[in-house]
């Protein structure tokens, strides 16, 4: 029997200016897991996601989403970039940003209509931001901006969700709201991949984890591999963290 992998990365190497930031990564992510990618700064966590999504060109290796190249599977994938990667002074509203999530399904030239608007309003409601739909995005707090980004991913109605540091700069309420939505997605059989920084919350939030530091250190179920040994290998010597059993 062949196991069904949502994401399959083979021998992936990515370099900036001839310096590898990801080296020979093999990663097989089974369908329906909520996975954290952890590792120190500069470990290549965001780069890995960007390379999977074809935003960066790898110098070697291949990526497949449900057995096919990403370009053929775009509609199965939703992406939430780092909040800091966009200009929040851009003249647009929360609803409009969420609507951008529908652009991929629409394809070139076609414009979003009533159906897309309805889906976007539902997504805003799901993240508790419906009452802010007409607010200019620079007038939102950091947590609210992150919720809008999450709503934009939800409206893509994908099978796999990639999120780059969704908990950065958000308050505790938003963090809980976001993780609950991610857990719901997993329950619905979706695969969720999250670049994560807070090691303390890994066992509570996620069921799958990948340790990354330029090379892949380990990947697997949190229960089996989230231990001092792997943490030390990833972050350097004597890294101590309380692991909740």
């Amino acid at each position: 029997m062949e196991t069904k992998f949502a994401i399959q990365v083979d021998d992936l190497t990515v370099a900036y200016n001839y310096k590898p930031v990801l080296w020979d990564i093999d990663l097989h992510v089974p369908e329906g897991v909520l996975m954290a990618i952890v590792g120190p700064n500069g470990a290549g966590k965001s780069t890995l996601i960007k390379a999977i999504l074809g935003i960066l060109d790898p110098i070697a290796g291949s990526v497949s989403i449900y057995g096919k190249p990403y370009e053929k599977q775009r509609k199965l994938v939703a992406y939430v970039p780092q909040k800091g990667s966009v200009d929040w002074d851009f003249p647009t509203t929360a609803l409009d940003v969420v609507m951008m999530g529908t652009y991929g399904q629409l394809g070139w030239i076609k414009r979003p209509g009533g159906k897309e608007k309805k889906a976007s309003l539902e997504a805003l409601e799901k993240v508790g931001m419906l009452s802010f739909k007409n607010r200019q995005i620079s007038q939102l707090s950091g947590g609210q901006q992150q919720r809008v980004f999450l709503a934009r991913a939800l409206v893509q109605n994908a099978a796999i969700y990639f999120m780059d540091e969704p908990f950065q700069g958000v308050d505790a309420t938003t963090e809980i709201a976001i993780i609950n939505i991610l857990k719901e997605l997993r329950k619905a059989g979706k695969t969720v991949v999250v670049v994560h920084h807070d090691l303390q919350t890994v066992p509570e939030y996620f069921d799958w984890v990948t340790f990354l530091n330029v090379k892949k250190i380990a990947t697997g179920p949190v229960k089996e591999i989230f231990n001092d040994d792997n943490l030390t290998k990833t972050y350097g010597i004597n890294y101590k963290v309380a692991v909740n059993k």
Binding site: V77, P91, G101
Partner: protein, 386 residues
């Protein structure tokens, strides 16, 4: 109005609209300087095109100049990618080099033809009606009106077709790329359109002032709206207004038309910058003053909340305790009274129910930094509007 006057204004309006639309996206992409670079570095393209066609309005010349514009962008990005210099330095290296090649080409070869540096730099709208387009022996109007009209129609068509792609690739490159809307294609598309527009417009307003036509209307509109569609509309309105007002100013002062139009653009920007309701200078200063008062009010309310002792709350002691000057104390006291947050009995100040609730809410906001707690307060107080 004479017919050349009408034609000049018509050309000016078409140029203004054609420049304002790509200008909005250049401003939002923080690439205003690139339009400056393009407007200069297309010179060698124009000169080479002119040598081949001997016609300043030939489509080939426009095409060659547009290619030079795109080459400028490619060169700037290539130099930037070396990581040795930043973008502004790269721009500063590329466009003078290309521009000077154009200047030398003109000086060496074009002395006997109608193409001089002044004409390229400043343009001359007043002469535009003299160059007619004759089709089948019939005079159908000034050539530059047809050329700019064609460019404008293409720009509007492209905008309508690719509005959503332009929007998402400008706002979020990562998402755009992941969705399959190539930011690179949109980038070079916008650069090509900008180059063509600059080339078409340089004849009328000159290579330097065309930058004003692209950037100033968009920058002005940006101060007034937080909606991309409205920004596009406002930008066009400001461009058209400045073009027409500039034309009549030139008429009145007997001055350069393109110079007057750019001056008008500057004046419009200055007025909006001063008086814009949200982002304008006066609004900002007023808001800062309000915020200072509100911070004082909050400090005062917290003080009352913290102290039950009579002497701490005596009206005359407040001044020395909180260490404020008389005027400020009075403003704050009046503001609190006006909002029914305090009551004064026998010269002793105490919080009302409303004042207590307000202070509790504010405290909770300060401690937790949770926005939803203070949503209802946002309408009344600047302080909480972020």
């Amino acid at each position: 109005m004479t017919s050349p006057q009408i034609e000049i204004q018509l050309i000016a309006v078409v140029v203004a609209i054609a420049c304002a639309i790509p200008g909005v996206f250049l401003v939002l992409r923080k690439m205003a300087l690139i339009s400056d670079a393009i407007s200069h570095s297309i010179l060698p393209g124009i000169v080479l095109g002119f040598f081949i066609t001997h016609d300043l309005n030939s489509p080939l010349l426009i095409l060659m100049a547009a290619v030079t514009g795109v080459i400028t962008v490619v060169l700037v990005e290539a130099i930037q990618r070396t990581g040795l210099v930043k973008e502004d330095t790269a721009i500063g290296l590329v466009f003078p080099a290309l521009f000077s090649i154009g200047v030398i080409l003109i000086a060496k070869n074009a002395n006997d033809v109608h193409l001089d540096v002044d004409a390229v730099l400043l343009g001359e709208l007043a002469f535009a009606p003299f160059d007619r387009l004759i089709m089948g022996g019939v005079d159908v109007g000034p050539k530059s009106l047809w050329i700019m009209g064609g460019i404008l129609i293409s720009i509007i068509a492209l905008l309508l077709l690719f509005y959503k792609e332009l929007k998402v690739s400008t706002f979020d490159i990562g998402l755009s790329s992941a969705l399959g809307i190539s930011p690179l294609v949109m980038h070079y598309g916008l650069m090509s359109v900008s180059s063509v527009t600059v080339v078409g417009a340089f004849d009328a307003v000159g290579a330097i002032l065309v930058v004003a036509m692209m950037i100033a209307p968009a920058a002005t509109a940006y101060l007034l709206t937080s909606d991309l569609k409205k920004m596009l509309v406002l930008s066009v309105v400001f461009g058209v207004f400045s073009a027409l007002a500039g034309y009549w100013m030139a008429n009145l002062l007997d001055a350069s038309i393109s110079g007057s139009m750019s001056t008008m653009l500057g004046i419009v920007f200055l007025i909006v910058y001063l008086f814009a309701p949200q982002k304008g200078l006066i609004a900002v200063l007023y808001r800062q003053k309000q915020q200072r008062t509100e911070v004082s009010l909050l400090t005062f309310l917290l003080h009352l909340n913290n102290h039950t002792e009579i002497e701490e709350r005596h009206i005359n002691h407040l001044q020395e305790h909180i260490n404020w000057q008389k005027v400020r104390s009075k403003t704050v006291l009046n503001l609190a009274l006006k909002n029914n947050m305090i009551e004064i009995e026998n010269k002793v100040v105490s919080l009302t129910e409303k004042g207590k609730d307000f202070t509790d809410l504010a405290l909770e906001y300060i401690i937790t930094n949770k926005d939803e707690k203070i949503e209802p307060m946002k309408d009344d107080f600047f302080l909480f509007r972020g």
